[in-house]
């Protein structure tokens, strides 16, 4: 996904560390030092216990597809060259859930339960986390 005009992250105070880490090839998430819950995406307090002591940790970037859809009608013109494309909710092995595209291979073949691994997409000045099938399905 490299077409012009797609949304590019504009880092905020809360998300700057996360996007900077992405540029360095690290998928980071927050870990609450009070209740040990993992948290994604970044914010100022733990949504589980309200704790303010949040530590950045690096994910290994391996996960399982929890749900997946295929987009045929692009939401904006910038996505027109990409359709059809797969969007998935991925449960990372560290215990948090995130959304991203599953790239590589036919989008219609991405299925719930598929193992996926992290890949990176350069978009403007930013680098976005994406996924591809980890075993067999990557093609």
């Amino acid at each position: 996904m490299t077409a012009e005009g797609k949304p590019v992250p504009v880092p905020t105070a809360e998300t700057r560390h996360y996007w900077t880490a992405c540029r360095e090839g690290v998928l980071s998430y927050q870990h609450c030092l009070a209740c040990s819950r993992p948290q994604f995406y970044p914010r100022t307090l733990c949504v589980g216990c309200g704790g303010a002591r949040l530590e950045w940790r690096a994910s290994r970037g391996l996960g399982t597809v929890h749900a997946v859809t295929v987009v045929y009608r692009p939401p904006t013109a910038a996505f027109r060259p990409e359709v059809p494309y797969a969007v998935a909710l991925v449960d990372l092995d560290e215990g948090f859930r995130m959304m991203a595209n599953v790239v590589g291979g036919a989008p219609e073949t991405v299925a719930i339960g598929d193992r996926v691994r992290l890949v990176w997409e350069q978009r403007g000045d930013a680098v976005l986390p994406q996924f591809t099938r980890a075993e067999g399905g990557g093609r």
Partner: protein
């Protein structure tokens, strides 16, 4: 939870034409819809002293609409938001009256939802910058309402075996209802096969699983039961209301709980508790059918069937006119027109009055044939209790129970 059961009524309903190209401003349409509701109630502009409306930067505020009508306000508020606002604002209207701030409230929504601001995320909305929390999904091409719901629908199919064909019955039923509705934008009856053979939008939604973006304005008027007694129409009493009840994570709702669980799970005890009834007591439902699947999910989450059996429920004939509990008898968002939730409340008010505008020869006098063959009746016989199931984004919903 406190209940104001039967203390307040909906006494007037009104709307403009449903079109795809109104050629008018939202201000002019709002004025017409509110005017129609005032006349419907047998009120004059001087009898209305409260106004509520909702919008997303796409409409005209109450401070322009009220003076155009000659209405002097003791209370008004413009609310940001779309679906799920209708029922919530009915509840807020009763609260404003209960607090002594005003006595009669007009609630309106006016939108050029096709010709100006398309809800699908395209057009003007698509040009808005993407910042902060949206970055968890928007960069990946997830933006429109249908896309936002898609994960929930796909997971429901995976967990419960729900099929596209089952859910397509919602569109087929609503199109049948719309064919009995002179106001409906899409009056042509469609079949399950028509739905599942229409082109993909976002899995599992085909084109005909999606509602019809529309230009329109709509209005309902709320006042006390005492005032309602003297008005032109049979009063429709508010038994219970729940407004914008939400899942624990409104922002990235997929991160909390089963993603097939929707807001009705949290709203049902509030609204049924106030009303003192259960799903089995409801004669007519009005679901937020932005998509066929939203109807199915709401009906099961509010307890009209067991969780996971929504596919069987909507394909069983229960939701059709002549069935045990018809849903969206006007054709709803899928066929009558997309109004951000208002037209299903308006329709249920008319059902309870016994005065829906169908093709019965004496419909204007409130005489119906109860013949649901094409081009005939859509009045439900002896409808006593209706329920509206409002919705917005997947984790937020509202509900309203009315009786005659």
């Amino acid at each position: 939870m406190k209940s104001l059961r039967d203390k307040y009524c909906i006494v007037g309903v009104g709307e403009t034409e449903y079109s795809r190209g109104s050629g008018r401003t939202t201000r002019a349409m709002a004025v017409e819809a509110v005017r129609n509701a005032i006349l419907d109630a047998g009120l004059t502009p001087r009898d209305v002293d409260g106004m509520l409306d909702y919008q997303g930067g796409d409409s005209t505020l109450a401070n322009w609409v009220a003076p155009d009508l000659g209405v002097r306000l003791n209370f008004y508020m413009d609310v940001f938001g779309g679906g799920s606002s209708t029922e919530a604002l009915v509840g807020l209207a009763t609260g404003a009256i209960e607090a002594g701030m005003c006595h009669t409230v007009a609630i309106y929504r006016s939108m050029n939802g096709y010709s100006e601001f398309r809800i699908g995320g395209t057009g003007v909305r698509a040009a808005q910058p993407v910042r902060s929390l949206d970055l968890a999904q928007v960069p990946f091409g997830m933006r429109s309402a249908g896309q936002n719901f898609a994960m929930t629908f796909m997971r429901h199919m995976y967990e419960y075996g729900t099929t596209s064909e089952q859910v397509a019955h919602v569109k087929a039923a609503h199109s049948t209802h719309a064919s009995q509705n002179p106001k409906a934008l899409l009056k042509e009856r469609v079949t399950v096969e028509d739905v599942v053979s229409s082109r993909w939008i976002v899995k599992p939604l085909h084109l005909l699983d999606c509602c019809v973006e529309t230009d329109n304005a709509t209005c309902v008027i709320v006042t006390s039961s005492e005032r309602a007694r003297d008005l032109r129409r049979r009063p429709v009493h508010i038994m219970g209301v729940a407004g914008r009840v939400s899942k624990p994570r409104l922002d990235f709702h997929w991160a909390h709980g089963p993603i097939t669980r929707v807001a009705g799970y949290y709203a049902k005890d509030i609204v049924f508790g106030q009303a003192g009834i259960g799903p089995e007591d409801v004669d007519v439902t009005g679901s937020y059918d932005a998509f066929t699947f939203t109807t199915m999910l709401q009906l099961e989450e509010y307890g009209f069937c067991k969780k996971g059996e929504g596919g069987q429920y909507v394909s069983s004939g229960i939701i059709e006119l002549g069935g045990k509990r018809p849903n969206n008898t006007s054709g709803g968002h899928l066929c009558e027109g997309y109004t951000h939730g208002m037209n299903m409340v308006i329709e249920n008010v008319r059902q309870l009055r016994g005065t829906v505008d169908d093709y019965c020869p004496r419909a204007a006098e409130g005489v119906h044939t109860y013949d649901y063959a094409p081009g005939r009746c859509r009045q439900v016989k002896d409808a006593e209790i209706t329920m509206n199931l409002g919705w917005a984004i997947p984790p937020t919903g509202s509900a309203l129970i009315l009786h005659r």
